[in-house]
Symmetry: D2
Subunit: 347 residues, 4 copies
């Protein structure tokens, strides 16, 4: 299967004109779309409806060509928050049979999966971890990439609104972290980075030494289940693209960004996009300097963390249209997070 990626600017959450142009031009065939990963311009927190608005618009638009069943197979992951220089866009992943004359070589492969819907009381639990781990394993198997060669696993997971969590000790905002954290631990199990027996209930969103180096999870009010896609390289690929990744040890880890790009092995690479997770260092310090993100009661620290990591990535590639998602619980080390680069194969 040949996987490709198209990065498309959006003027607003309900803007399909860029996608429309590529479809009209024949570059994208609607039935080949397997996943759409978007960066929308809401606050990226509980009451961010730009994610749902974008998803609704895309589904409605694509229903011109696709049946409800076919639409239901596409993984929609909208991540809110384009703070700072981040520029709203869609990443449209397509997959099609290998062209007859294609010569396989090491390159991008992908798989997708969806979990069952979660009950409110399951969010952020060992149950959620297990269910996610199974679905990620399924997506990995579909991709044809060995688990240890997976470079990036993206999950969209649910959260609890005030109404859903009424009476519970968990706030809506906290439920976002728990959902992201449990999903990331599910990835770690599927990739073999951790085993389920190493994780206790008390570790979830507490013991951040347990993490996945390839998980990227975003929570949103617009779904009740988890939607998943995995990316890796395999020698059977006929894609024009290849992926690399690294782990940012802190929000200013420029070297890790450069490593992720270098890992693709392409000289003077043409970068399609970077993908990273961001969080305000929970220690209250970055590089031994105090930061104020966790004590600022006017701006959510996840918003600020996206602004920081977005600026760092954008300054490396001199392109603000990069994908940075906030809240990296169990995704990379505390204060850091995974970063991946998808570039064109030039050699």
């Amino acid at each position: 299967m040949k996987v490709e990626l198209f990065k498309i600017p959006q003027r607003s959450p309900d803007d399909c004109t860029g996608l429309e142009q590529l479809i009209q031009a024949g570059a994208i065939a609607p039935e080949q779309i397997v996943a759409i990963l978007g960066k929308t311009e809401g606050n990226g927190c509980v009451n961010d409806f730009t994610r749902g608005f974008a998803t609704q618009t895309l589904k409605h638009y694509l229903s011109r060509w696709l049946s409800a069943d076919a639409l239901g197979n596409i993984v929609f992951v909208m991540s809110g928050g384009t703070e700072g220089v981040l520029s709203p866009h869609l990443n449209v992943f397509t997959r099609q049979p290998d062209p007859p004359d294609a010569v396989p070589r090491l390159g991008l492969v992908m798989g997708t999966a969806k979990t069952r819907p979660f009950q409110p009381h399951e969010i952020g639990t060992l149950t959620m971890i297990s269910v996610v781990a199974e679905a990620v394993a399924e997506a990995i198997a579909q991709s044809g990439c060995p688990p240890e060669h997976i470079h990036f696993v993206q999950i969209k997971c649910p959260l609890l609104t005030a109404q859903q969590q009424s009476g519970s000790p968990v706030s809506s905002y906290q439920s976002m972290a728990l959902s992201r954290g449990a999903s990331a631990l599910g990835v770690a199990i599927a990739t073999g980075e951790l085993s389920l027996s190493e994780i206790g209930t008390v570790d979830i969103c507490k013991n951040y030494h347990l993490y996945s180096s390839v998980a990227s999870t975003s929570s949103g009010v617009e779904l009740q289940n988890c939607e998943i896609f995995v990316l890796g390289n395999a020698p059977t690929s006929t894609s024009s693209l290849i992926i690399g990744h690294s782990v940012m040890r802190h929000a200013l880890d420029v070297l890790a960004v450069q490593e992720a790009i270098a890992q693709t092995g392409q000289p003077n690479p043409t970068i399609i996009n970077l993908f990273a997770k961001a969080e305000a260092d929970p220690s209250g310090q970055i590089l031994n300097r105090r930061h104020t993100m966790l004590d600022d009661s006017d701006i959510s620290h996840t918003r600020m963390a996206r602004a920081v990591v977005g600026s760092v990535l954008a300054s490396v590639v001199q392109d603000p249209m990069v994908y940075v998602s906030g809240g990296s619980e169990h995704q990379g080390p505390p204060g850091g997070g995974p970063v991946a680069a998808i570039v064109q194969i030039s050699v």
Copy 2:
């Protein structure tokens, strides 16, 4: 002892001109000041430095007349947040010996106290509750008012910054609630509303059916101990003022505001000030209608709760210069809170 209250507008947190005028005019004698309760114009949350700025300014200003020891006896309670129509101001409470010709009658009395500083790990615990209860009992005894006739207990309590709570599961913002909640439960014990044996660790900021009807607690980064004053009526008073109170059952409980005023028994009362606590109803509903304060990730719900209750109180007395403080954990029933009125004795 004769207690009086002066409500003084502030143009900024470091504005002493109103106080200066009253001192110059002889209305206030600096050495008679026992407590200053301010409403300052910060965000009322973790990084609100207007409270410390106002306190520093007042202490510096009053040091012209008062020794460090005398200054140390004054209770400074600065509560941040003047959202909506709320207007920044100081409530200066003075106490002086009974004038020789004064005839005692039922009227305002007050007492003050301070606790020892708390360790970070004590914030929001049974230990804090006990220590606060003892200090409140001391202030009540000083006031000469029987515990069951206390109408209002104001406490300023500490919080944890990101640096202080590093490694702890409690965020800075959560520490504000825990500190307020434990302080309020301490009040309930001192007034006899609850007994310590009724309260378990698990109840703190969880079981909101346990509450005081007269506690008003505010947390701030600017102190490590609790500063306390209590207000009640006693037949031995020579004050020109009298206090009444009630409990708002929800944020729109206009009747409770009117009851607090009516309880003072003054026809056509001249109201000096109203004092109330506010919180976004934790059920996510007010009067069976959904509210969005708890899911709004851009504005802290404590800020919105102050705007709401401030508007309600101000609309009743047609004066926006009222005292409303946010976060009413264990202060009145969930979604509601105590309200007190200090009015002039006219009969």
Copy 3:
């Protein structure tokens, strides 16, 4: 024509379940819907996409029954911002032929109209005022109510995003005010409150002594033209409802709210909804007390103004599900705004 109003709670901007129930129950016939006025839970400012999300969802939902032409005739006005106690909801106005046995009496009538799309440079100009005035006059004529008996004119008008106004001296946020202000002045001309010759370019969003007492205008990124509906009473009505209005002189003007209700002449009225405009008093003072809304750089003053007026209205009727929209330029006097009440006819 018989006009009715249904107030329907919304759980989220894309929630149609309440409307669905009324349609399924036969209470609302889709083809009788003439206007939907919603209060959605975004920030009510430039980047509030909840308005567009709600509109898109409603149009998509109603397209089950209505042709594109029929849908195009419905006026959709989504006003963002449910700060404080305000509760998200839809006001669905229906209009149907008079029932054969109906006896006309003084009651609610309505008319609708839409302007042509505006060019970016026309927003907030005399041209916009004229075009709006014509369309409002058309809606009034349609309603069958004399201009001087109109009680409420609702307009949804456009704004300029950063991209549209690039190079212009007007910011996106300012364009919202200019669009609302010019639309309101258009209303004043149509109702005869002002004549076009009284208004100069320099008056727009400057001279607030020029205003309409019945205009309620909201700007949004989701449209380029103005959508309008007008409400009044006429003796030919067969509606079960009647409307009254008054003008709040300031944000705490409880009396005006009571007057609007009393004007309907119904004893113990069952109130369907209140409709009001809100703004932070541009003088920086309310009832001679300083407010801080205009100097708070963390929360838009329009958000706070809605919280205040929403709390005041809700406290009067003890129902937080009222309609309050922010930004009352040329809608009532500075710091105040129109308020209308629609109640059931009981006598």
Copy 4:
């Protein structure tokens, strides 16, 4: 005169412990302090009282050693806003007579000046520009550096609060921009970058092709005049430091940051601090990609701009304790701004 710079972390706006340690250790002599440039943790906008709080605290602290006159000669410039990774700190500049054995070489020199207080109606006018230009010229003359070799001019300028600008068409927030812009144009005249005859009233905060490459201006509520210091290199210096500068053409201009450092001519330089201005590109685009900072009504774009440029500078030097101030009207080209580096002389 020998100029030195000490960068001191602050735990809060009223934290003097770092300064205290350096004074106790003899590294800083209070009477040699000529300017303190601070980065405080408020919102950096109108209602940021952390600036005044820090200044009041520092003045009070230094009054132990310095007379009121001596204190009055120190230039205090507090710039609010430590968004993202920026870390609150003070830059303490000292000046002392040349040590007897010092050998002059090219290095850091500085001068200071203060303007008269401005009337509210003068903020942002040609009058302000002229008055500032004169004072900057005075500071330059004092520094002993030729105007064309000046690398950095820092000005703290006033703003208008809602009360001060009542009735004026300028909002508080806009007055910050006008004050910064006029001050920067004053710098351009003093340095010879522009002449007064080139600037019309209509150009102020409109025509951004007129700018200074070395101006850095911050407005605040805590003063009515402008406080100024200038930095340059001169061959007569006995400082251990040297300064370089460049102009960032956009917020992600990493090369300009590296140029500013390289311009100091020091191999493997030990960087004391970087100083830069930041603004959200008024075109709505950065590097041809749309940004959403100007349309985000929940977070001031100046806050986001600081987060971005702070992240970029910090990523270059791997130190988040850098000085970035928001609002670069007439300070560098639109969307960009000056950047300066002070490093130790190693050769």
